[in-house]
């Protein structure tokens, strides 16, 4: 570029620094978010993958059936590197008087297993000479302050056995301590995991091995192999077959990763779009104002290409200044986010890498957005007719009546000043459209994040208040008879107790399988309500099985279709009575009378759902109940609710950040549109001032005009935001979680008020500029 043009470019940028800063900042935010989220996604993916490889995280886990036969079959299957038998049993634990539901998993006593290895964090690995030594999973260890040398009790079905902690560990299976896919959210008070010598666990479970964990060659997923092994496992009576991707903890983490990936695309696009539009508005105005200068340049021999390049420079500068620091900030932020995240979740391996492609990509995206924004006005500049431009003639927009005036005749009676404000809205339709899009994008950002909070609150309310009516679940040391359940009601403070039987089940229909749990509930259960997707709240039907709605697609079934339930080596066929909508998990439900009729025996209860009397002290009641000898563990429904409430703090922080970013984006766009709006009409403002209109009145007219533009964007933004939030939530929905969008009416109201507030605030600099207008100078100019 010719040197004087470079000077002109930089001086113009300095002269309009506030607008350029707004564009640069929005660009910076967009590029930063891209770099931070995309690199975090890559780092976390690498961390999980490396953890999986280093700790030989099982590619396929098979539970139930003839596991020994399956282990032999798997071991000789090409592509299977290791297939190991082990025992896993859910038994009660007692730590410092607290009874909880636990899981004991067997490991080779002398060395790490070939599959699902553990990382010893404190203490030592198991010692064959010390069979009562256990390794405690870190979440439980932290909660109960268990260290090497601490003791805890485990129930072997007959008596409580004291074990000694030899070490604390991290396991790839329990990075997120989900009990299973139907119970993704647990609390350390309700669920914990220990690892012990395989022989010890077999003794605790009073069974032989019941699981096979297989690791494929190099840990790489292999769909064909999985299909083949799954078929073999099913034929051998397996009740639960799941891949690494389906494993509960991993699936929950993958959901999170998917969220990062979506954020890495969704949010940067919004910011870059906003920055691009702000740049377009600004540069278009500059070209318009500089038409005489452009005419002079062209008349003096500058080529159209030189003029094009010059005005592209107005996009290039904020693009470059915003993108390079943004990309660097993004990369640095990604490191911070990755470390915080892996520390928070205690992921054994943290991989923080430098990805040059992200850095280059981020800069390229930023530059591309700003150059594209500058292209249209730069082309206009290069096509200016020199003679007309030097005469100061510029295409001026003719006035016309607003649509509102045409549609509503009484509006025509408004004072001229208000008609001026009304018509000003569509004076520059393209700019209005861009400002409206800015408002829409901002509302999208706000509603997607805020909608998430409302939906999760709603989800919790549905799960823990409307569906789960029980206050706690009491687990028995051994399958209990109805009389044992009835005894619970005698405990002071217990209002109601219902028997519940949980059975691992494999559902099969149309050649599809889904492994879940069958909950056999009391007929007419009042403590677990069922919300049918077709009929609303229903009673547990006397025949048929009720399934979570995700099974409808997973198994390709409809109401009335027969479905095979494989329970503990027995299969029976039952029609689907209803599909229920439950936010957490995908279960199967059956009435106790029906289950007994099918099995031909009186069924015991593995647990009891209990409801408290009004005003009872839950902690005291928990102590009373857990002291009962037949009670193995006590799961407080409110504790999970409280844990989720605590997680909400993270969401509030997330929404706070998104609101700030959304506000910044809306501010940048509206501020730029406003500044250009005022710059474009300085002559009108000066004329109005000269004829005796006071500045406050002018400010009111301009404010009204801008609020009207924002008001056009608000309903569109609310609709687009609603559907974007629904799409974003739907992407998180699976058989683990069922996210239905629910946004409180007040959220729409607050989002609207927030945008209006930003619109008002973003005008302040522009309105202040009115005070600095030089009336004598402006009214005398040919084109102000």
């Amino acid at each position: 570029m010719v040197k004087p043009l470079q000077h002109k470019l930089w001086r113009d940028v300095r002269r309009h620094r506030a607008q350029f800063i707004a564009i640069t900042l929005t660009m910076f935010l967009g590029v930063t978010i891209f770099g931070a989220t995309y690199d975090s996604f890559q780092n976390l993916t690498a961390s999980y993958e490396t953890t999986a490889t280093e700790y030989r995280f099982a590619s396929l886990t098979v539970a139930g059936g003839d596991v020994e036969a399956f282990a032999q079959a798997a071991a000789i299957e090409p592509g299977v590197e290791s297939a190991e038998l082990r025992t896993s049993t859910d038994i009660p634990f007692r730590v410092d008087g607290t009874k909880l539901l636990g899981r004991a998993i067997g490991l080779p006593a002398d060395d790490q297993p070939a599959v699902n290895q553990v990382e010893v964090l404190t203490g030592t690995y198991l010692d064959p000479a010390f069979p009562d030594g256990v390794l405690v999973e870190q979440h439980m260890a932290d909660h109960f302050s268990l260290r090497p040398g601490s003791t805890m009790d485990v129930f072997d079905g007959t008596v409580w056995r004291t074990t000694t902690v030899v070490g604390t560990i991290a396991s790839p299976e329990y990075i997120w301590t989900a009990r299973d896919r139907q119970n993704i959210i647990t609390t350390p008070d309700n669920f914990g995991v220990i690892f012990a010598a395989e022989q010890t666990v077999r003794e605790l479970a009073a069974t032989g091995p019941n699981e096979v964990v297989s690791y494929y060659a190099a840990g790489i997923e292999n769909e064909e192999l999985t299909a083949s092994l799954s078929a073999t496992a099913r034929s051998l009576g397996a009740t639960n077959v799941y891949t690494r991707a389906e494993q509960a903890s991993n699936a929950a983490l993958e959901e999170d990763l998917a969220g990062f990936e979506e954020m890495a695309i969704f949010f940067p696009i919004m910011f870059l779009l906003a920055a691009g539009m702000a740049a377009y508005v600004m540069i278009s105005r500059l070209v318009h104002a500089q038409r005489p200068h452009i005419g002079v340049l062209l008349a003096n021999g500058f080529t159209r290409r030189q003029v094009l390049r010059h005005y592209l420079g107005y996009g290039f500068i904020p693009g470059l200044i915003g993108s390079i620091p943004g990309a660097i900030a993004g990369v640095l932020l990604a490191r911070l986010i990755t470390r915080m995240y892996t520390e928070l979740l205690a992921i054994p391996v943290t991989i923080v890498q430098f990805y040059p492609a992200t850095l280059l990509g981020a800069v390229a995206f930023g530059l591309m957005a700003s150059l594209l924004a500058a292209l249209a006005p730069a082309l206009v500049a290069s096509r200016v007719l020199p003679a007309a431009a030097m005469r100061g003639e510029s295409p001026s927009g003719g006035g016309r009546r607003s649509m509102l005036e045409r549609m509503l005749p009484p509006v025509r009676k408004l004072p001229a000043a208000w008609k001026m404000a009304l018509r000003g809205v569509w004076r520059n339709p393209r700019r209005t459209v861009y400002t409206v899009i800015g408002v829409v994008l901002s509302l999208m950002l706000v509603l997607v994040s805020w909608g998430m909070i409302d939906s999760i609150r709603h989800l919790m309310d549905r799960q823990f208040v409307q569906i789960q009516q029980e206050d706690a679940t009491v687990y028995f040391t051994e399958p209990a008879a109805a009389a044992d359940v009835a005894d619970l009601v005698k405990v002071d403070g217990v209002a109601r107790a219902e028997p519940s039987l949980t059975l691992p089940t494999s559902l099969e229909a149309n050649g599809n399988h889904y492994d879940t749990a069958l909950l056999v509930l009391a007929d007419g259960s009042q403590l677990h309500r069922l919300d049918s997707i077709d009929d609303g709240w229903i009673d547990l039907p006397s025949a048929g099985v009720v399934l979570g709605k995700a099974t409808r697609d997973l198994l390709a079934i409809e109401i009335g279709d027969p479905i095979t339930l494989a329970v503990g080596g027995t299969a029976f066929v039952e029609p689907v009575a209803a599909f229920v909508d439950e936010p957490l998990g995908t279960m199967a439900y059956m009435a106790r009378s029906r289950a007994e009729s099918l099995s031909g025996v009186e069924l015991p209860a593995t647990s009891a759902l209990i409801a408290y009397d009004e005003g009872v002290d839950p902690a005291e009641l928990r102590n009373t109940i857990t002291e009962l000898p037949q009670v193995a563990a006590f799961e407080d429904a409110n504790a999970i609710y409280d844990v989720m409430q605590r997680y909400m703090v993270l969401f509030y922080a997330f929404v706070g950040i998104m609101l700030t970013f959304g506000g910044a984006m809306a501010f940048a766009l509206i501020f730029n549109a406003m500044s250009v709006n005022i710059a474009e009409r300085t002559r009108e403002v000066a004329t109005l001032l000269a004829v005796g209109t006071d500045r406050r009145a002018i400010s009111r007219y301009i404010t009204a005009e801008n609020i009207m533009v924002a008001a056009i964007g608000i309903p569109i933004g609310l609709i687009v935001g609603h559907y974007s939030a629904a799409t974003a939530l739907a992407s998180f929905s699976s058989d683990l979680f069922s996210f239905d969008l629910f946004i409180e009416p007040t959220t729409y109201l607050w989002a609207t008020l927030a945008i209006l507030a930003v619109a008002l605030i973003s005008q302040i600099p522009g309105l202040r500029a009115i005070r600095r207008i030089s009336i004598p100078q402006i009214v005398k100019e040919r084109s102000a």
Binding site: R400, M420, R427, L689, A690, G692, T693, P776, V779, K780
Partner: protein
């Protein structure tokens, strides 16, 4: 309404970049007088007009209009002064492009009374634009736009009319028609008119001609027998 300027200076810039746009101006303008201010570019004509219109402040000296010292007015009082006393006609018309001719006039009429629309129609009739009153500025010729601007200046019946090169953008015939209009309506309303132009020929239609050069009044002549604007030629 009389206009009285005493030892008025207007300096732009400071220090070695300071430029005196007006130097020691003394001027008396009696009510109803139609004065033309002549001078080359940069002589201070528009600056003088701006000071009387209170859209700019004098550096030194006193400007009194109907006994009110403009220098003593606050910003709000200046706005009120302009609203109640001054009508402006600019070279480039300065109409609001999104308002029709009638609405441009009504906008200013609303500043001083409630029945702005009726008064706007009446003034537009006075300037011969009643059949074009619902057209937007872009649909009007330059002469028509200037007539709208004059109607806008007249609608609040200001005692002072300040016209800055009102014919500068117009062809000869249209310019003469506009001058004729200005002369006629100012006589009918007994308005004091200050009209700035670089066209010396226009002086012949005025009551008084002031010549400015380098910020000073170098000639102040009364015209005992001003000619009709329609007889002007240049």
């Amino acid at each position: 309404m009389t206009i009285k300027l005493t030892e008025v200076w207007k300096t732009f810039g400071e220090g070695h970049t300071a430029v005196d746009a007006l130097r020691d101006i003394d001027l008396d303008g009696p009510q109803g007088e139609f004065s033309v201010i002549l001078g080359p570019s940069g002589s201070g004509k528009t600056t003088l007009l701006n000071l009387v219109g209170a859209i700019d402040d004098a550096t030194r000296g006193d400007i009194e209009v109907a006994g009110v010292n403009l220098a003593a007015l606050s910003v709000d009082e200046q706005v009120r002064y302009r609203r109640e006393n001054v009508g402006f006609v600019f070279q480039f018309f300065n109409l609001i492009p999104t308002l029709t001719a009638a609405e441009n006039v009504e906008l200013v009429a609303d500043l001083t009374s409630d029945n702005g629309a009726d008064r706007a129609a009446s003034v537009l009739e006075q300037v011969g634009l009643v059949d074009r009153m619902h057209h937007f500025p872009a649909e009007l010729s330059g002469g028509e736009q200037q007539r709208v601007a004059i109607a806008r200046a007249l609608v609040k019946q200001p005692p002072i009319l300040l016209c800055d090169e009102p014919t500068g953008e117009l062809d000869f015939e249209t310019g003469r028609m506009i001058l004729d209009l200005l002369r006629r309506v100012s006589r009918e309303s007994d308005q004091t008119v200050l009209l700035v132009t670089h066209n010396a020929a226009i002086g012949a239609m005025s009551d008084r001609v002031l010549r400015l050069r380098s910020g000073e009044i170098v000639e102040d002549t009364r015209n005992a027998d001003p000619i009709d604007a329609s007889a002007l030629t240049w």
